[in-house]
Subunit: 146 residues, 2 copies
DNA sequence: TATTGTTATACTCTATAACTATA
DNA sequence: TATAGTTATAGAGTATAACAATA
């Protein structure tokens, strides 16, 4: 008996699989400075010149605030990001890339797309289709930036 | 200046993001028995009636063998899988689902696709397209089952 | 000699609970 | 009273190196 949702199930399996198979590949992109997958992701999420409150990071990562504290501690210790107190609400701390963090982030992005990687095996049209579908996947639960 | 690989970069970002945003959702699927994301994934990877050598699991997860030892210890402690010595090569240990593991695996698969989840927001055609593209992504580095 | 899996060790990741400081 | 972030704690995830058993 073939279920209606076979494709959904298969897609889910492949998405998870993609992540776990790429995990080890990922930090090797930043061979110079050892970064864990989550740390790479955080660096990726913080855009240059656009501060990100810690609470928003916790929501985006779907994790507890206490976890973000540790993550930020380590990235700050590496000199890649820094905490800044928000003038509007003094409880809030916003994260910003340091020059070094900004540089490493660009480097990461460059390497991810440069290499002979799985994504390179797709045609440009397929990449576009993939992006469109994934963006639809996120339409409703992108971080509520309130 | 717009790079040629903008879509690849965007796709990569979205794929990582999908994983991190789904992480917390995932174990709540197995609300009764607390399983971590990796544990869910391992349970997903071991198909009923089809034994999997530990070394293959390490390759599929792109992680060290010592890590698999710990993962398997915990899943075995929960009574979900079991180690069996391979008769052909006595160094090898193969993993098999227990009846309980098999039951939980089905339950997981069912819940993943049943719920009002991101994947449900795609049209059937989009799900098919997504699966096709992701499968192509894996064409060359599926586990070499030697 | 090379490979499979384990152990010991040392991190990082993660959640829970209790806390401080703001609002 | 509620929210943002921290601390303390405990456990899971992960890699490295050294090891045992087998090939």
């Amino acid at each position: 008996m073939k279920r209606l949702d076979d494709d959904a199930s298969r897609a889910w399996q492949l998405l998870m699989r993609f992540f776990f198979s790429q995990r080890s590949h990922l930090p090797s992109c930043a061979a110079d400075i050892r970064l864990s997958p989550v740390q790479c992701h955080v660096l990726h999420l913080i855009e240059p010149g656009q501060a990100m409150p810690m609470s928003r990071l916790a929501r985006t990562l779907s994790c507890d605030a206490s976890n973000v504290t540790g993550l930020v501690d380590r990235l700050e210790r590496e000199g890649l990001i820094e905490r800044q107190s928000s003038p509007e609400d003094r409880r809030v701390k916003v994260l910003a890339l340091t020059p070094a963090g900004s540089r490493l982030r660009s480097e990461l992005l460059r390497r991810v797309t440069d290499r002979p990687q799985p994504l390179a095996r797709l045609t440009p049209e397929e990449r576009k289709a993939l992006v469109r579908i994934l963006e639809k996947l996120f339409d409703q639960h992108v971080e509520t930036s309130d």
